[in-house]
């Protein structure tokens, strides 16, 4: 017993020497193919959503920030709304998460979230209010929009960008491969997702300042 501890202690010293002890600052998001992190959040209409309750359904998570030019790109071009409607038509639960911290760009009250949904004519199943960036943090989101797809078994099957051309120009949308649309098609067809982890692009997610 004791010798084990001493050996372990020396190793501890060794790890101190190379300084490879894990940085607890920021956990990376889950890997594709692993169970999606659970969350519970209240939406802009006061309804509580829990991932555990959505088992059996395919779920899309979209991080948003209405002040972000990249989010606006996809809403101004109606790309996001179209994909939300397509998803809803196929029984997919599309959750838009407003994960900006209070006081930061993209933070919205319930009323503001509903106004935005109306003015954009958006069609998510719900806009989750995530002012402490809990959902974003659990999923390791770094940008808006950062997209995730969770299959009916609760497994994360896609994470990354909305499409393949990282730019703020709406004219690039038709040229880009719409990763989320393609991946959803594959998931609903029971096929593995081809591009399951792609580069997300957009504005830095506005986490609470105190965290680092």
């Amino acid at each position: 017993m004791s010798n084990l501890v001493i050996a372990r202690r020396s190793l501890l010293l060794g790890s101190a020497a190379v300084g490879v002890l894990p940085a607890v600052a920021f956990a990376d998001g889950p890997d594709v193919g692993k169970p999606a992190p659970p969350f519970t959040a209240v939406d802009s209409n006061g309804k509580t959503w829990s991932l555990a309750d959505l088992k059996g359904k395919v779920v899309v998570i979209e991080t948003t920030n209405d002040g972000c030019p990249y989010v606006r790109k996809h809403y101004n071009a109606k790309n996001m709304q179209d994909q939300q409607r397509e998803a809803a038509a196929k029984g997919v639960v599309w959750l838009t998460s407003a994960s900006s911290a209070k006081g930061e760009q993209g933070y919205v009250t319930a009323q503001q979230a509903n106004d935005l949904t109306r003015s954009w004519n958006a069609a998510p199943a719900a806009v989750l209010l995530d002012p402490q960036s809990k959902i974003a943090r659990a999923y390791g989101a770094t940008v808006t929009p950062h997209m995730y797809i969770i299959d009916a078994n609760g497994v994360l099957v896609y994470k990354g960008g909305i499409d393949s051309i990282p730019s703020s120009s709406t004219s690039d949308i038709p040229k880009a491969k719409q990763y989320v649309r393609v991946a959803l098609g594959e998931v609903l067809a029971g096929k593995p997702v081809t591009d399951s982890s792609t580069r997300a692009y957009g504005c830095t997610l506005k986490y609470p300042r105190t965290s680092s």
Binding site: L12, S15, P22, D28, C203
Partner: protein
């Protein structure tokens, strides 16, 4: 619409040279510059997109990191002309609440090489459309259109000096091709580890090492990087990124580091391409411990367990056993006093450990977080820890005893009563137990040093709680006393047994040492241990004031001094050992240079020749970079030769005393140091520690004509 109009206007009006080359947006002033005021057909020239960025805002590098987008330039060039990809300055790291971005602040110049066609004539018109994302907390995509018209002449003409200075500065920011080979391997977790084979570096002069991966995918930018520097070079354990594909055959990126030199810190950047090394053995070095990453909870559990085990140590256990027996005899109202006693004792122990944590944190903040970690890379540190383990092992084996006065003090304290007494018993128990707990404490403190402040405090408090727990438990439940083993010979056996893990730890530290210094480390470490054991034996032979005793003491002191002298030898030896093992940066290259000696320098100066002296060292990265970018370029070599400069190079790798004395005279603490004696000068000119080609050339141009021969 407005922009379109501006474009039309630009197209319609015959734009004079440099027109439209500045775009001022809300957050960035962008300017397109050329390093030529007239170009030569077929001969490449450079243009730069210079971004002056609003304070606190940043634009992005080619790999922007976790968010953001790199600046893009689309060229419209005359037929037959060619624009190369952007040559990027070295990036900075921006941490936005944990989201990592790579980019530029204040000012950045993106360089592009343009090759005009061989048949170019008249004027050459470059048009560019650039778009960039500029962010502070919020991000704004911006763009601009630029146009430059340059006359084409038979000889070309350089840009005005002010513009050339901008290009000079920009080129200094461009990473140099790494002078060292690099490889990377994959550890068990699937994460890549990068090794840049920069052998013979001094760990204590290098800090803030960071590898900026060139592309998204193979490496996670969000993960913290902690580089270590050892005999094999620079080792950076990375975290695998999100790309699903296998790791690439070549991992490329930019290695940025700061080197501490006599004049302050110099930031250096190198482009690195690391080949995937299938034979990579992750356990071949210090990183052996890397697999043993402990979570905070684990670390706390081990600290608690370690603290509990401290109670079994011979300096602590008898005291505990005695106290337990005393508790068991008590009854009734004394029990409550006893409980108070136990709590006060616990508090005393915890306060002592908290004080220790405060000291550790104070040391760390005064030394600086990052550089402190590198102290652990020092072979001297490894050797001293190996000695410590060895000496503690000898003690546990019973070869010698630490002064028994300590234990006496301890028993005296425990005998004293009162709540305050119990509190100070706790405080002093921590101090008194030191002879037995030192190795545990050294290890725990070593761990604590590498942790953020809250973890440091938590781990040390857990250790203290472990130490206090049995006493506390006994004071609350005296019945537990029955479960305690009686003091007896088993204590000695346990103590003797514990010596072996100590020796094993010493062996492990020696192995770590050889990783840092090469094979020579073994002979110094083992020789030093023999000397220490010899000294202990001498001291044990007898006491008293006889002449023989004093002689033995003297001898013991000499032996110990010799053992520690090995440590000093190792510090110098680390560079030597590495240079013996080869590698491009392993030695100082004297090609085309004479070896420095003061006599040779004085002679050349007296002869009225211009003399350039380069003081360098194998471990000095800044020296190496200066050689590559300034001292050994063709233009500078030619310039030296034409001016008849006597080139002397002093190698300070092993702290040559002649050079050290000269450095001291000039008030310098180390290398790089460049001296330039103009002919007939009474004093040399000290050049800056970061050289450029143009700086040397202008020094040479300023020489009086007589010297130019």
């Amino acid at each position: 619409m407005k922009r379109l109009f501006a474009l039309l206007l630009a197209l319609l009006t015959a734009a004079p040279a440099f027109a439209q080359s500045v775009v001022q947006t809300e957050n960035v002033r962008a300017e397109l510059l050329a390093d030529a005021s007239a170009i030569k057909p077929g001969e490449p020239f450079w243009v730069g997109l210079r971004q002056t960025i609003r304070p606190k805002w940043h634009t992005y590098w080619k790999n922007p990191g976790d968010s953001g987008l790199p600046t893009e330039i689309t060229w419209k060039l005359p037929e037959g002309a060619k624009a190369d990809p952007i040559v990027w300055p070295r990036p900075h790291l921006f941490d936005l609440s944990g989201v990592i971005n790579y980019g530029f602040k204040d000012e950045a110049t993106l360089l592009v090489r343009i090759t005009p066609p061989a048949n170019a004539s008249g004027s050459f018109k470059l048009a560019a459309e650039a778009n960039w994302l500029v962010c502070e907390d919020v991000c704004i995509p911006e763009d601009g259109k630029f146009e430059l018209t340059l006359p084409v002449t038979a000889t070309g003409a350089p840009a005005p000096p002010a513009t050339r200075a901008i290009f000079d500065k920009a080129r200094q920011q461009v990473p140099m091709q790494s002078p060292w080979p690099a490889r990377y391997g994959v550890v068990k977790s699937g994460d890549p580890t990068l090794i840049v084979e920069a052998k013979g570096l001094k760990a204590d002069t290098i800090r803030d090492v960071y590898f900026f991966p060139a592309d998204w995918g193979p490496v996670a930018s969000m993960a913290k990087q902690t580089a270590s520097i050892g005999a094999e070079g620079i080792r950076i354990p990375l975290k695998r990124g999100d790309a699903k594909a296998n790791l690439p055959a070549d991992l490329s990126g930019t290695l940025v580091l700061s080197e501490k030199t006599a004049d302050g810190e110099v930031r250096q950047a190198f482009d690195v391409t690391a080949k995937l090394d299938p034979n990579f053995v992750p356990t071949s070095s210090l990183a052996a411990a890397g697999g043993e990453q402990l979570s905070l909870v684990e670390a706390l559990l081990f600290a608690l367990l370690g603290g509990l085990i401290l109670n079994l140590m011979p300096c602590v256990f008898p005291v505990l056993a005695m106290k337990a027996a005393a508790f068991a005899r008590l009854a009734g109202h004394e029990r409550s006093a006893m409980r108070r006693d136990g709590v006060a004792y616990t508090l005393g122990v915890l306060v002592s450990f908290a004080a220790m944590a405060a000291i550790v944190i104070a040391i760390r903040t005064s030394v600086g977080d990052v550089s402190w970690g590198f102290q652990f890379q020092s072979p001297v540190f490894s050797l001293l820890i190996a000695y410590l383990f060895f000496v503690v092992g000898l003690n546990l084996s019973g070869v010698f005893e630490f002064s028994s006065r300590f234990a006496g003090v301890g028993q005296g304290l425990v005998a004293r009563g009162g709540t305050a007494g119990a509190f100070f018993t706790g405080v002093l128990a921590v101090i008194v137990a030191t002879p037995c707990t030192a190795p545990f404490m050294a290890a725990a403190l070593g761990f604590a040093l590498s942790q953020p402040a809250p973890q440091t405090v938590a781990v040390l408090l857990a250790l203290g709680l472990g130490l206090a727990l049995p006493y506390l438990a006994l004071s609350l439940t005296p019945a537990l006393q029955r479960l305690m083993p009686r003091p007896g010979p088993w204590m000695d056996r346990l103590r003797q047994f514990l010596a072996f893990p100590m020796y094993a730890s010493a062996v492990w530290m020696i192995w770590v040492l050889t990783q840092q210094t090469g094979d020579d480390g073994v002979i110094y470490a083992l020789g030093g241990m023999i000397l220490i054991a010899f000294a202990i034996w001498l001291l044990k032979l007898g006491s008293g004031a006889s002449a023989a005793t004093w002689l033995r003491r003297g001898l013991a002191a000499v032996a110990v001094l010799l053992a520690f002298a090995a440590a000093l030898k190792l510090e110098d030896g680390s560079a030597t050992a590495a240079s013996a093992s080869g590698g491009p940066a392993a030695g100082v290259n004297f090609d085309g240079w004479e070896r420095f000696s003061r006599a040779r320098m004085n002679e050349a100066v007296a002869a009225g020749k211009p003399v350039f002296v380069d003081f360098t060292a194998a471990w000095c990265i800044t020296c190496l970079v200066n050689e590559r970018v300034a001292l050994e370029t063709q233009a500078v070599r030619n310039g030296f030769e034409q001016a008849g400069v006597v080139k002397l190079k002093g190698d300070w790798t092993n702290r040559d005393p002649e050079i050290t004395s000269l450095l001291k005279e000039l008030g310098r603490a180390g290398v790089p140091l460049y001296l330039f004696w103009a002919p007939g000068a009474a004093q040399p000119k000290i050049l800056p520690q970061v050289l450029t080609e143009s700086l040397i050339l202008s020094e040479l141009a300023a020489l009086p004509p007589a010297a130019k021969r």
